[in-house]
Symmetry: D2
Subunit: 214 residues, 4 copies
C-alpha cells in the first residue's frame, strides 16, 4: 500500500511552510504497513494541480493526502469538504488572485473528503495531539488543491482515497509573527502519523460527533 | 416583489433567539420596494423544512432568506455554501442528534447561496454594520435549513433567489453567558435591511475578494 | 453629587473614539441623583493629565471616571488596577513612545480603582449589557491617565472616588477595520449609565467573584 | 550561581500541570553557568508560600522563578507585575476560594518582577519559541505565589532576583480539552532555558517595547 503525501512551498511572505517540513519528515517511512512518498507542490493556482497529477501518475498511490498551513489554527484539522471556488485574499506564488471563479467549470459544487476524518481525529487525540474536524478549507490554494485532487480521484472512479489536512504554524513562525498559536514539528509529525495509520486501517469512518453549530 | 424572511425559535438552552427577534422587527416592512414577510421555524431537523415549505407555498416569494444565530461570531455573515450533511454537536429542539447523515440522500454535496453575498456584505459595511462572507454554516439545523431551502429552490428551477445569513448573540444573551461577543438588535436589523436591499437590487454579484486563506 | 466623566480623542489612525462619543451622550444627564459633566482628554502622555487636573479643579466632582477605547474587547470592562509604567506599543497623539518609564517617579507600583467595580459589572449585566472586571488596563495612555488620576486622588486624601472603564469599538469602526468585535453606542451608553448609578449608590463593593485564573 | 525554579501540582481537574513537567525537565541542569534546582508547590493559597519559603531557605538561590500553567495562552509569558489580591474563580486544591482579599494586609498594591522580562522574551523568540510580556498574572494562586515571592524578596532587601512565567497547556491536555492552544514540552523547556540564560546574564533589562494598548 502506498501513500502520497504532499506539502506546499512557503507563501504569504513566510520563509518556511510547516506542511512541507512535516511531509519531508515522513518521506520514506512505513505507517501501518503503507509506504509514504512525498511531493512538494507550488502554492500556485495552475501549477499545483499539474505537479499533483504528475506525482499521482508516477507513484500510483492508494491514498493521497495533501497537507497545508492554516495560520491561526491551533490544532490539526482534517477537512470535510472542498468547494468549487477560487476567491484568493492574497496573491498565490505566481501572482494569481482570482475572485469567485470556479476551479472546475464542469465540476460539482463540492466534494467530500474520502478519508475517515472522524477516525483520524480520534487517532490523533489518542496520540495526545490536538485535532478536530474542519468544515472549511478556505478558498485559497489549499482548497484549490483539495478540490482538484478530489475531482481527479472522482474521475478515476474513486479507487484511491484522498483528502486534505490543515496544520498550524510552527513555533519558529509564531515567534516571528507574534500573536499566533503554533504546534511543534514533532507534535505535527506525530499527529500526522496517527492520522495516516487511521486512513490506512479504517474502511468505514467512525460515527462520532464532529460537527459545529455554525 | 416579496421577500420571505425566516428566523428560528430559541435552542441550546437560550430563552431567546436573535434571529427570531430580528426578523420580527422586519415583518411587514418594505425594503427597496419589496415587501417583507416573516416565518418562524422550529430548530428541529424535520419540522423546520416542513414549515419552510408551507411558508414558501403560501407567500410565493421572489427571495427567501433564512436567518440564524451564530454564537461566538461578532459580525453578520452571509453564508456562501450549504453542505449535504447533518452532524449535530447538540440535540435539536425535538431531540434529534444525527451524525454524518445526508440531508437529501439524492441531493448534491453542496449548494451555493444564490444571493449576491459580496454585494450584501459591502452594503452592510457601508451602513456601518460589521459583516463578512462565511464559508461554513456549520452542520446543525442552520445548515440543514440552508441546504434544504436551496434544494427546494433548485427543484423549482431556481426562479426564486435564496440563502442564509448568520447573526451574533444579542447583548442580553452575552451579558448572561459571559465571554461572548454580541451585536445590538438595532445594529442587526439595520444590517439586515441593507443586506435585503442589496439582495433585491443586485442581479450579478460584485467581484470583490471575500475569501479566506483557510 | 457630581460625576466627572472623561473620554479620549481618537488615536491610532481611527477617525472617532467610542469613549468620546459615549461620554458626550451622557453629558448633562442626571444618574442616580448625580449630575454628569464631561471632559475630552487628548490621547497624549503629558497633556492628558494636565487637562484632567484642570477639569477636576474646575468641577470639584465626587466621582471621576475615565473612559477609554479597548480595541479587541467585546464587553465593558471596569479596570481593577493601574500600574506605574508607560510602555507604548504605538506613538501617542503627540508622538511620544516611552518604553518602561515610570508615570510618577515617586509613586507606588500600582493603585486600585476606588470604584465598586464588582457592583458596576453586576449592574451592567442586569441591564443586559455584557461586562466583566479587567485586571490590566494595558501600558498606553489609558493606563497612564488611570494611574495619574488615582495618584491625584490619593494625594488629595481619596475624598473623591475614581477609576477607569474600557469599552469596545463601535460597529462603524469594526465595519471598517474587519475582524473586530464591537458594541453599539446605545448599548455602551446604557451600560455606562448602569455603572455610574452603581458607582454613586454602592459604598462597599459587592463580594462577588470577578477574578481570572491567569 | 543558583536558580530556584518552582512548578505547581495539577489543579482545576487536570491530571498534569505543564509547569511541573517543565521544571522537572530542567532540574539539575546548568544554564549559563547557573545550576537549576526545582521545587514543587501545591496549588493552594496558604501552603504554596510556606513551601516556597522553605525552598528558598534551603537552597539560598540567586534567582527564583515560579512557573505556572496559563490555560488559553499560546505563548510563554513572563509576567510584569504581581497584584495584592486573591479573587479565585475556582477553588484551589485545599478548597479555598477567597474573593477580593489581600495577599499581604500590610503589603503594597503591587510588585514588579525583578527579572529582565524584555530580554527574556527576546531570548525566547531568538530561540524560535513564541513569547511575549504579560501585564496580568490573574488573581488565582499563580498571582498569589508571584506576589508572595516578590514580598519575601523585598523584605530581604531584593538581593535575589525573582519573578513569574506563565506557560501554555501541553498538547496532551489540549487534545483532551478541545478548543485550546498548546505548546509541546520540548518547546516550553527550550524557551525556559533561553529565558533562564537571559535572567542570569542580563543585569539591566533591554529597552524594547513590550506593552499593550489595553
Amino acid at each position: 500500500m502506498r501513500i502520497l503525501l504532499t506539502g506546499f512551498d512557503p507563501f504569504g511572505g513566510e520563509p518556511i511552510n510547516p506542511a512541507l517540513e512535516a511531509v519531508k519528515s515522513l518521506d520514506g517511512r512505513t505507517v501501518a504497513g503503507a509506504s509514504v512518498s512525498v511531493c512538494e507542490l507550488p502554492t500556485a493556482r495552475w501549477r499545483s494541480l499539474e505537479v499533483l497529477k504528475g506525482a499521482i501518475a508516477k507513484l500510483d498511490p492508494d491514498i493521497v493526502i495533501s497537507i497545508g498551513q492554516a495560520g491561526g489554527r491551533f490544532d490539526i484539522t482534517p477537512e470535510r469538504v472542498a468547494i468549487n471556488v477560487d476567491d484568493y485574499r492574497i496573491k498565490d506564488n505566481d501572482g494569481n488572485q482570482p475572485v469567485d471563479e470556479a476551479i472546475e467549470t464542469e465540476g460539482p459544487t463540492a466534494y467530500w473528503s474520502t478519508l475517515p476524518i472522524k477516525a483520524m481525529v480520534s487517532a490523533m487525540k489518542e496520540a495526545g495531539v490536538p485535532a478536530s474536524v474542519s468544515n472549511s478549507a478556505g478558498t485559497f490554494v489549499c482548497n484549490h488543491v483539495f478540490y482538484g485532487l478530489m475531482h481527479i480521484l472522482a474521475q478515476e472512479g474513486n479507487r484511491r482515497k484522498g483528502g486534505f489536512i490543515h496544520i498550524p504554524y510552527l513555533p519558529e513562525q509564531a515567534a516571528r509573527l507574534g500573536g499566533q498559536p503554533s504546534m511543534s514539528l514533532d507534535c505535527i509529525v506525530g499527529g500526522l502519523e496517527a492520522a495516516l495509520a487511521a486512513a490506512v486501517t479504517v474502511d468505514e469512518d467512525h460515527k462520532k460527533v464532529g460537527g459545529t453549530i455554525c
